[in-house]
């Protein structure tokens, strides 16, 4: 009788460098020791056995011989007892036992899903190594599904293992091409681009992100575009190219619209860049609209301090007062720690408006928060906060000449603010806390 076809046996390209199975390079540590060190004692043995069984089966599904139904069901029963009847552990273990009990009909997809469930359970326990190993086991069990490899790469990336992440994401990208899964390919290339950007390999990052963009556009994957444009925007900023960063931010906004969940982060980063480049009017416009979208008091305090600084620079005392009150409310009533750069931003805003007492209070906070910092770090922050006067003068000149709305950067600021204001209608948005 013919059994169900195995997804793991789907024909994959002969690419031992990108699809390493038998020749995978991971020898620095005994994987089982990682599991043994991280897992709680009652169920660790059952989980280690599950990992070993799946990986041994995945290495050579045809040559693998089942330990026998009796042995596996005995193991499953002990797993149920030792896992303290905890369903998140026992259910995937039972799935693995039932699938591997009869290897001829074992379904790779089910095995991979069981491993993914164990990976998530381990993440919940804070067992990062175990979570990564089970994510890899899922990708090994079902090598023809690029999403499992992508998930393994993503997990390694989040846990600060870029080399492992790259290996799995490259594998995901190759498998995605082979199985014509363009969504997974765009996701894997985008994530690889992010990794390269984080490693400051700007050339590689640009190539990968542009590839991801091409794939997403060709396959009509509009939902992937905002994240890729945002990465390109961050890349342009890291390269110091403001115009390119603005262009990428504009594209991200066009692709995602006001409902894009990444819009507040994009607006926040764009405003930060404008503050750094002394385009205070643009930054202020965006920051005022952004404030109500920031969830954590820490982020709100940072945005309020930036708003105060920008408001001071453009001479808008009312906006300064509002941002000032908000910042001190958060720092005082909610007990959020005022960081040096926030205090410095408040002080610079006050100094621009010649508000001596406010400047004195903020500078006092700078001194208090700088305690424990090295002089070098403090000097660096002050240097970064001080703006080139000629840039500020140039903007004031342009504003007075009435050409503000014509500059693409100003148009972008208006569009970002409008998009954020549209989002403000969404339930759960709150206004200023200090008001």
């Amino acid at each position: 009788m013919k059994g169900r076809p195995r997804a793991s046996q789907a024909a994959l390209p002969r690419a031992p460098l990108d699809l390493p199975h038998s020749c995978g390079f991971r020898h620095a540590e005994l994987e089982d020791a990682v599991l043994a060190a991280e897992l709680p004692p009652p169920c660790s043995v059952a989980v280690i056995r599950a990992y070993r069984l799946v990986v041994a089966w995945a290495r050579s599904p045809d040559a693998w011989t089942a330990p026998g139904q009796t042995t596996l069901f005995g193991w499953e029963r002990r797993a149920w007892q030792s896992s303290d009847n905890e369903m998140p552990v026992w259910a995937p273990l039972a799935t693995i036992a039932s699938e591997l009990g009869n290897p001829a009909t074992a379904d790779a997809q089910w095995l991979a899903l069981a491993c993914t469930a164990l990976s998530r359970w381990a993440q919940g326990l804070g067992a990062g190594g175990t979570a990564a190993l089970f994510a890899e086991a899922a990708a090994f069990a079902c090598p023809a599904d690029p999403w499992f490899a992508c998930a393994a790469g993503d997990l390694h990336g989040r846990q600060g293992r870029p080399r492992e992440a790259e290996r799995w994401l490259r594998r995901a990208s190759k498998v995605a091409v082979w199985t014509r899964n363009w969504d997974a390919q765009a996701a894997a290339l985008g994530r690889l681009g992010t990794l390269a950007r984080e490693a400051e390999c700007h050339g590689d990052a640009e190539k990968l992100l542009l590839s991801a963009l091409r794939v997403a556009k060709r396959a009509g994957l509009r939902q992937r575009l905002p994240a890729i444009w945002r990465d390109l925007f961050l890349l342009a900023d890291a390269s110091g190219n403001l115009e390119e960063a603005e262009r990428c931010a504009r594209e991200a906004l066009n692709a995602g619209g006001p409902d894009n969940p990444g819009l507040p982060a994009l607006a926040r980063e764009m405003a930060s860049i404008w503050v750094r480049h002394a385009y205070f009017a643009r930054a202020l416009r965006v920051l005022r609209a952004l404030l109500r979208h920031l969830a954590t008091p820490r982020d709100r305090l940072n945005a309020a301090a930036c708003s105060a600084r920008a408001a001071g620079a453009v001479g808008d005392e009312q906006a300064f007062r509002q941002a000032w009150d908000e910042a001190w409310f958060l720092a005082g009533s909610l007990g959020v720690r005022l960081r040096t750069e926030d205090a410095l931003a408040l002080a610079l805003g006050a100094l621009d408006l010649d508000l001596a007492s406010e400047a004195s209070k903020a500078l006092g906070a700078v001194v208090a928060s700088a305690a424990g910092h090295s002089e070098e770090a403090l000097a660096h922050q002050v240097q970064a906060a001080l703006v080139r006067p000629q840039t500020k003068e140039r903007e004031a000149l342009r504003r007075s000449a009435g050409i503000r709305a014509q500059h693409p950067g100003d148009v972008l600021a208006d569009r970002l603010a409008q998009a954020l204001e549209k989002r403000a209608d969404a339930p759960g948005c709150t206004g200023s806390l200090a008001a």
């Binding site: 390079f25 620095a28 043994a36 060190a37 041994a56 290495r59 790259e166 400051e200 405003a271």
Partner: protein, 277 residues
């Protein structure tokens, strides 16, 4: 015993004479099994070629601590993969951690993995593991593709194979393999393999009971003078026991990789102020 096996010859599995390990006596194919008692096993492991593996049974429920002879074996054969068979349910997680700390390459969970085909998968995945482990630790910044090629070359070097065997390992011809090496920022397959042989020989020579002559033959050289010439060509110095050390030679290999392909170096970071956010 220490001579590298010609291509196609089975690798050696040194198996402890123990009732629990009887099923593995009937291993076929890639491994030739030698069943020995503890003393003979330790002696054989001292001089075994780097392609060999050892499987012992030194961990039982009544004895939660490993057999002292296991530690003796691990000291006698630091360059061979040593696998320990036991019942995981009896040893529990601390047992696994203890074995890993001791330097065991892998273990066999006897109640579940009692058939020879499962052991074969384990043996293949642990082939030359101690050497590969040292390489992996010493090469932290090369690409995953390059690491896979280096691992393949290390495995072939342990078997005493040539670059044709390396190409066969990846299922391609030598020309394709050369292209892969170039793209991965590695020297040519022949040179890569020569490096792995020399590095493996230097690792083996850290064991004082191995002679230069035997070590050279164990990694595939016809005699010690061929090994010395190959080493001198790669390292620009005359080879002798302990000079250069494995770590110095690995550093030279890393330096060569950087010269072949410096693409893994991060680009110059843009100057960026702390900013407000």
């Amino acid at each position: 015993v220490s001579r590298a096996a010609p291509a196609g010859t089975p690798r050696t599995l040194l198996l402890l004479d123990s009732p629990a390990l009887r099923p593995f006596t009937f291993m076929r194919g890639e491994y030739r099994v030698q069943v020995l008692g503890w003393e003979a096993l330790i002696t054989a492991a001292r001089h075994a070629p780097p392609s060999a593996a050892v499987l012992v049974d030194g961990f039982t429920y009544r004895e939660p601590e490993p057999d002292p002879r296991l530690e003796q074996l691990l000291q006698a054969a630091p360059s061979l993969p040593v696998l320990v068979a036991f019942d995981l349910a009896s040893a529990q997680a601390p047992g696994v951690r203890l074995l890993a700390d001791l330097g065991v390459s892998d273990f066999v969970d006897l109640p579940i993995e009692h058939n020879p085909s499962t052991l074969l998968v384990r043996l293949q995945s642990t082939h030359a593991r101690p050497f590969k482990r040292r390489l992996e630790k010493g090469l932290p910044d090369i690409s995953p593709q390059a690491l896979t090629l280096v691992a393949g070359a290390a495995g072939v070097a342990a078997d005493g194979g040539l670059s044709t065997a390396l190409a066969r390992e990846f299922g391609v011809n030598e020309r394709t393999l050369s292209g892969w090496c170039a793209r991965a920022g590695l020297p040519s397959p022949r040179r890569l393999l020569a490096w792995q042989r020399v590095l493996l020989a230097l690792a083996l020579l850290e064991e004082p009971w191995r002679t230069v002559q035997d070590t050279a033959r164990a990694v595939g050289y016809t005699d010690d003078s061929t090994f010395r010439r190959a080493g001198a060509a790669l390292l620009n110095q005359r080879l002798s026991r302990g000079n250069p050390s494995f770590d110095v030679a690995l550093a030279a290999f890393r330096a060569e990789l950087k010269n072949v392909c410096p693409v893994r170096e991060p680009s110059r970071p843009a100057t960026r102020g702390a900013g407000c956010m």
